[in-house]
């Protein structure tokens, strides 16, 4: 069993290589479809650049080569995991990303854990009290949150918790020089994390709550739940053991599929909360047509997404013994 799982992971990792390269090729095509390039932007920023200077920049960046040649060079680098140098910032793309990625991952993972925990708890609570006011309250609130734009929700949370109540910081990731100890630092980051993670996670919590409720109700209709009742188990035990584990699969599936979506959402939320993650970097790369940086970020994001999907497949096997990894 365990040896089988290891082989499964290794084989899946090998399969990921062509997938990630295909995504990289697609990213290149998409980035090239946007009008203008970094040379235009840089020349424009200088205010009085000549056409010759722009052309010179283009030659330096290799943007004057035929597109197929550019593409092959890019794919060759990417296959060697070389992300190149940022055209605008003149630093290795890998370094720029490595500086920012941990903050984004921290925000994403916290939001996801928060969303799954809240969504599952609310979904189970609603399903157990189907048709009562508790169920209605949860279902309507979930719909309301689901329909609220995240950036607006973020601003409202800032207004309420930071400005009105002065409980939580409105932005940033830490206060410089405040925390002396390691624990103090962790707590400081945690305080800064609450609002952006809640803003990002609430939408997903609403989605998972609705899905979990439906999934639980479906499981409640199955025979083994009647068996569990006939055994004399309490409704609590039935909900949190017998029903929950069977009902979780759709939520795990959806969570896995939404990781890419979540990464995109965190970019927006980072802007609202001044969170020092990939968000600002993506924005700059887009606006400045920094091809290398943009492609680098997209490449790393695609790796994160495919790895999370692999993890989801492993969780399946843990939740449902009928699924074996061969």
């Amino acid at each position: 069993m365990r040896g089988g799982t290891v082989r499964f992971v290794l084989r899946r990792l090998a399969q990921l290589v062509p997938v990630v390269l295909a995504i990289a090729a697609l990213n290149f095509a998409l980035a090239k479809l946007a009008p203008g390039d970094a040379a235009d932007i840089l020349a424009g920023q200088m205010g009085h650049a000549t056409l010759e200077f722009t052309e010179q920049l283009r030659r330096e960046f290799g943007l004057d080569l035929p597109i197929l040649e550019q593409f092959l060079a890019y794919m060759g680098r990417t296959a060697r995991l070389d992300l190149g140098i940022s055209l605008i910032q003149q630093q290795p793309v890998a370094e720029l990303i490595a500086d920012r990625l941990p903050a984004t991952l921290l925000l994403m993972v916290t939001a996801l854990v928060l969303a799954i925990a809240t969504g599952v708890a609310l979904g189970v609570a609603a399903a157990r009290r189907q048709g009562t006011w508790v169920d209605n309250l949860i279902s309507v609130s979930a719909l309301l949150v689901y329909a609220t734009p995240a950036f607006w929700l973020g601003l409202m949370l800032i207004v309420f918790f930071s400005i009105r109540l002065d409980l939580l910081p409105s932005g940033g990731m830490m206060r410089i020089g405040v925390a002396q100890t390691a624990l103090g630092q962790v707590l400081d980051v945690a305080r800064h994390l609450i609002l952006p993670a809640a803003t990002l996670g609430l939408f997903y919590a609403a989605v998972y709550a609705r899905l979990m409720r439906a999934s639980m109700l479906e499981v409640y209709g199955l025979d083994f739940i009647t068996t569990a009742r006939a055994k004399g188990l309490s409704e609590g035990t039935i909900a949190w053991t017998h029903a929950l584990r069977n009902a979780l699969l759709p939520v795990v599936t959806l969570a896995g599929m939404q990781v890419g979506h979540l990464l995109g959402g965190s970019v927006l939320i980072e802007t609202v909360f001044g969170w020092p993650g990939l968000g600002r970097l993506v924005f700059d790369a887009l606006v400045q047509r920094d091809l290398n940086l943009l492609l680098g970020i997209l490449f790393v994001s695609s790796i994160v997404v495919v790895l999370v999907n692999l993890a989801v497949d492993l969780v399946y096997g843990f939740l449902d013994p009928r699924i074996t990894h061969k």
């Binding site: 083994f224 009742r229 006939a230 055994k231 004399g232 069977n246 013994p321």
Partner: protein, 325 residues
Amino acid sequence: MSAVLEVADLAVRFRTTRGTVNAVDGLSFAIGEGETVALVGESGSGKSTAALALLRLIADPPGRIAAGRILFEGRDILALREEELREVRGGRIAMIFQDPMMALNPVYTIERQIGEVLALHAGMGREARAKEVVELLRLVGVPAPAERAKQYPHNLSGGMRQRVMIAMALACKPKLLIADEPTTALDVTVQAQVLDLIQSLKDRFGMAVLLITHDLGVVAETAHRVIVMYAGRKVEEGTTAQIFKDPRHPYTQGLLEAAKWEEVEGAMLREIPGAVPSPFDMPKGCAFSPRCGAALPRCRESVPPLVEVAPGRPVACFVAQERAS
């Protein structure tokens, strides 16, 4: 013989968008200690609903036990508090279901699912449970019980799963076993084995058994007494010998005729014409009258009450009652 279970005037109603349905209506019967009673009828006759109602397992909503009394060992099941009810469920009354493929939780091991009952009702610790589970599996004839205990339901065949269900039901030596179509979903060869198993364990533990089935062959082999249900009501009751040799209700006669064709080679399949009436569109009078060859005009006017046509032979049929008097 003192009664383990006494059911009086049990009524189960379902509220649906098309109106209220009487799934079980005015059902009364008793089961003596160590006795096997068969509840017989077609699909939709209310027999499974009645069985679920005995442990208050009817989902509410949409279902509700609207009336009646269920006395088990002198205690009224319908008046029990939630905790008391849970002690009876799985502890004093156990239940097995039709489809062993669906009745076991797919994500937990056999050991865990049987062990749950032992932990709950016998307060056994982890090690004692593991040992007892293997013992129970051996008792119900599961080969290699120690290995099977660690496996999941999907690793087992249908017959093995039903044996696991039986082991789970027997875990706390209940006084009454409710078996709802225990062999219907199984292969014919396995059916007999499972019935024999229930039979031998019943004798060994002195359990009473309420057997719900539509299979008269199963009834003939195992039951002491038979209750025939039609459209939510009891229409006839008697000992197994009485019902098979001398059925009084035209419905019971039809059921037996329909069952006979298997025994006579080359015989045509006999059936009762028509179908069980829709609960939304019950005929006036006797619910069986539209399908009954012997129906009198009064059968279509009023519902025949249960009247004893002979000692211990209540029958709800005007025709049978007239013949007897």
